[in-house]
Symmetry: C2
Subunit: 343 residues, 2 copies
């Protein structure tokens, strides 16, 4: 099938080592020799077999990024950033999705592609701490996202509680009093609560505003449809919110769709704030105010962590939890507060 080093060596009348030297751009090859070998390479159309090289070197130069789903533009945008960051270290990224299933998260975290990938960046949804503690010899791992783990792995995430508080604080400053939270997870979760929900609660309590369950809507997933249903449920429940803080932008967008259908105006009747700052958020008929995590920083920190582990050949002595930046992108769905309030 393929043309091998040996074929080239034979053709050029040299040893495989010399060809290897040329292919890898090593020093100490006379120009004449190099030219002769290069010619043989061109004539035969030789292409190095990376698989063999990988086997020999014990590494592949490929890292994997596993996200819940591409359907959420946040992860699509993040994937782009990770690919760029990895390219700067000469790594290729294999992008994978777990469909948000714990089973798949477990599989991928335990080295499903052992020896094909050098390391893994995983954004889990359902994975638990105990799923991670049993992990052995499956290569370097970096975690992403809102979940917290008591496991010895680097974890990259913005300060979700603080970001949520800023978002809710912004709504409070607008004079809103009944601020709902859309997108809590269903009860099976062992986690006490989402960090974003916690931030919502803290900020409301600090402001002396109601933060009870009647203002929280649980959703099945994290998509637009979930947001639309959640908003409908909130209204049907008679909660009469004057603002909504959504777990993410997709839920916020779904909620705005329902508000429009019910004849409620944004931000007039209900102000809306999302989370993620996906590009879509800027282009709705009413642009979305949202928490904007620094995706480039997240990607860079994740890749840097992985690359460092790969170089050291060992996990970090102490797990690191860097905090990439974020800011509130203020747009039309919850505009800047004017002196004297918004209404």
């Amino acid at each position: 099938m393929g043309v091998s080093l040996k074929d080239v060596a034979q053709r050029a009348g040299v040893s495989v080592k010399t060809v290897s030297n040329v292919v890898n751009n090593y020093q100490h090859v006379t120009p004449g020799m190099r030219a002769r070998v290069q010619q043989a390479i061109d004539e035969l159309g030789y292409r190095p077999n990376l698989t063999a090289r990988h086997l020999r070197k014990g590494r592949t130069g490929i890292i994997a990024l596993a996200v819940p789903e591409f359907g959420n533009p946040y992860f699509a945008e993040l994937a782009g950033a990770v690919i760029d960051a990895a390219a700067r270290h000469d790594y290729t990224v294999l992008v994978d999705h777990t469909a948000g299933l714990r089973e798949n998260e477990l599989l991928v975290s335990q080295g499903f592609r052992a020896h094909v990938i050098d390391g893994l960046i995983l954004s889990p949804i359902h994975l638990e701490t105990e799923d991670l503690t049993g992990r052995t010899g499956a290569g370097p791992l970096v975690l992403l996202g809102e979940r917290e783990y008591e496991a010895p792995y680097d974890h990259i995430a913005i300060d979700n509680v603080a970001a949520a508080r800023e978002a809710v604080g912004h709504l409070v400053a607008l004079g809103r009093r009944r601020i709902a939270f859309l997108g809590s997870r269903t009860g099976r979760e062992r986690q006490p609560a989402h960090l974003r929900l916690r931030g919502w609660r803290q900020e409301l309590e600090a402001a002396g505003l109601p933060a009870d369950d009647s203002l929280v809507v649980v959703t099945d997933g994290y998509g637009r449809a979930d947001g639309a249903h959640a908003m409908a449920e909130l209204l049907d429940r008679g909660a009469a919110p004057d603002a909504v803080f959504a777990y993410n932008d997709l839920i916020a967008i779904g909620a705005m769709r329902t508000l429009a259908e019910r004849g409620l105006s944004v931000p007039g009747d209900v102000a809306v704030v999302g989370f993620d700052d996906i590009e879509e958020a800027r282009y709705g008929t009413v642009s979305l105010t949202t928490v904007s995590p620094d995706k480039e920083a997240i990607a860079r920190l994740a890749v840097d962590s992985l690359v460092a582990q790969l170089k050291d050949g060992a996990p970090p002595s102490a797990p690191r939890r860097p905090r990439p930046g974020h800011h509130l992108a203020v747009r039309e769905s919850a505009p800047a507060a004017r002196p004297g309030g918004d209404r």
Copy 2:
């Protein structure tokens, strides 16, 4: 570092062949033997080295999908469909992006990852026929998308001209007379025109409506911002359109944003039709009427083609051009025509 087959064999007191048989679930292994080997595997935490297996078998079970960018949800959604289709054939997908650069498209098409991937599904933007004719021994390739090539490769694409005609025909049936096209490419293109632009022109001419350049806006890219700028340019130009057919949904969404800012109503003043049916199109304040390509079919046909080539060990004798289905998803931005017209 790792535990190898040999280590397991030693531990279990058998030969490597036997361990290999167990690992690969071969027949003809006595249950007792199998149990003993399995125990050794578990004790040592053995995980097969896929790289070595790949080298030996000459294939990796990985296929690559290269799309212009993840930022466009169409490709993100398509990627998900390809991953699912590939999984049904026990293939893993390495998702890559070309950033829409011809240089990258060329690189990837010529076997950048030779021997790491078994085959490639490529969605090109800038690649030319001559870039493909020089391609040798870089593994099976399947092309996706609107561009047409005179090269011996399978190409999967819906009937873009017919789909565009349906979209424009729908606008005509609504009684619209000045129907613009947003998203033509800049002049460098050697292609005479986009298929979608051609469909727009054909349908308008058939209806006896104007189809001149004053109704066509060229864009730099295919994003929301490009659509917003294009719409602004069209209006500033004094074209006074009563409908817009956009190259894709992102451009349509950007255009609707501009229309809203200018105080024009959709579909009252201007009806809008997009192309791709990304989920986002269903959730705007005004949902988008759009051409909906059957993404599952596209993905399935592409993967099937690749898998067939992989099995035969040869490219198809004659290149195939299957036509996955499509339909017009009629929503609020260009609703169904009512008897007697829409206005």
